[in-house]
Amino acid sequence: MTNTFEILPQPSGQSSHQCWSCGDMRAALFCDSCGSLQPAAPTDYFTFFGWPRKLNLEMPALEREYYRLSRLLHPDLFANTTTQEQTWSLQKTSHLNDAYRTLRDPILRTEYLLRLQGLQVHEKPAGASLAAAAMGESKKGASSELLEEAFELNMQLEELQMNHKMGEHDEDLERQLAEQESALVAKLAQLDGELHQQWNQWDALANTDGLPASKILDSMVELLSRRSYLRNLVRDVKEALAD
């Protein structure tokens, strides 16, 4: 049972509620007054860590917080408490693990934020575009160029692989494959650089609801889909070289 919590869009901000044990208000994980563990409230992963929805994350800080919370929420600590609290500790621990796994991976983190902001990631590209829809334009053009490119690269790679399999282990071919690999890896690095720039733009925004915000989100969706075609190509070329 990993997904005890709703991970899809939640109103941002901590849900405030009373501590079930002492009746005090606004407890998140533990009651501020009496320290009792609180029931599982649906919070997104950023909120769970008490952070704003920003994409630049300090890994050491994430790790520190993860280990700190793991220790505090560990089910062993609740072995002698009510079954209710035992369940909550389990649920929170599992939520914490999901949150940590998602936030520490740059791509998963970006995808998660996009979903939180209401975008459809990994759906049909046309449906994903907020800004484009608002402006009445279609994004077909950009993505068909990208598909052409991905298709072409796949074709080239297949030819190289085919020759390779036919036993033509000549140096020329090896060199071409290696060149292809470094070109693709460089492209991937370039994309990641672009993604980083978009993170910075997003993190600098004061208002995450306006048109500038949805433009940034849209370009992140576009970039991630470009990245997934490229990632496959890199995987394939590495496989070909390993054969």
């Binding site: 068909s144 991905a150 298709f151 997934s228």
Partner: protein
């Protein structure tokens, strides 16, 4: 994951792999992709200008077994149909024929999208050559 026999059949013995001249006026090309897995699929049709029947179909798919099988099946199904009949093909029929599991539904969607894209491309070409289809219609 276990593939159905039909998927395996199309996968190991794909029908109509290849390409058609994308510059020909009788050829429509559809190039589509699934961003969730990074797979790409190209499907081409050659339409008889008089009968509007799809006489030839070719595909090339870089993707999973289900995507290859779906596009292979799609080329078989569109052949011999008119353009409008081909447009009626639904991904759910592909899912059924190939017994695709839920996680592989997007692979069949890709094939349906590819058919639509190819027909769309062909239609666009006919639009720019208004004289040809007009004559055909008059003759019927």
């Amino acid at each position: 994951m276990a593939y159905s026999d039909k998927v395996l059949d199309h996968y190991s013995n794909p029908r109509n792999v290849g390409s058609l001249d994308k510059n020909s006026n009788e050829v429509g090309t559809g190039l589509v992709g699934a961003p969730e897995c990074g797979d790409v699929m190209k499907l081409q049709i050659r339409v008889n200008p008089v009968t509007q029947i799809i006489e030839e179909a070719k595909f090339k798919t870089f993707g999973c077994g289900s995507a290859i099988a779906s596009s292979s099946l799609a080329t078989e199904w569109v052949k011999g149909r008119t353009v409008d009949e081909a447009l009626a093909i639904k991904n759910t029929e592909i899912v059924k024929e190939l017994a695709l599991p839920p996680v592989k539904i997007h692979c069949s969607v890709l094939a349906e999208d590819a058919i639509r894209a190819a027909i769309g491309d062909w239609k666009k070409k006919q639009g720019t050559e208004a004289t040809e289809p007009a004559k055909v219609q008059a003759a019927q």
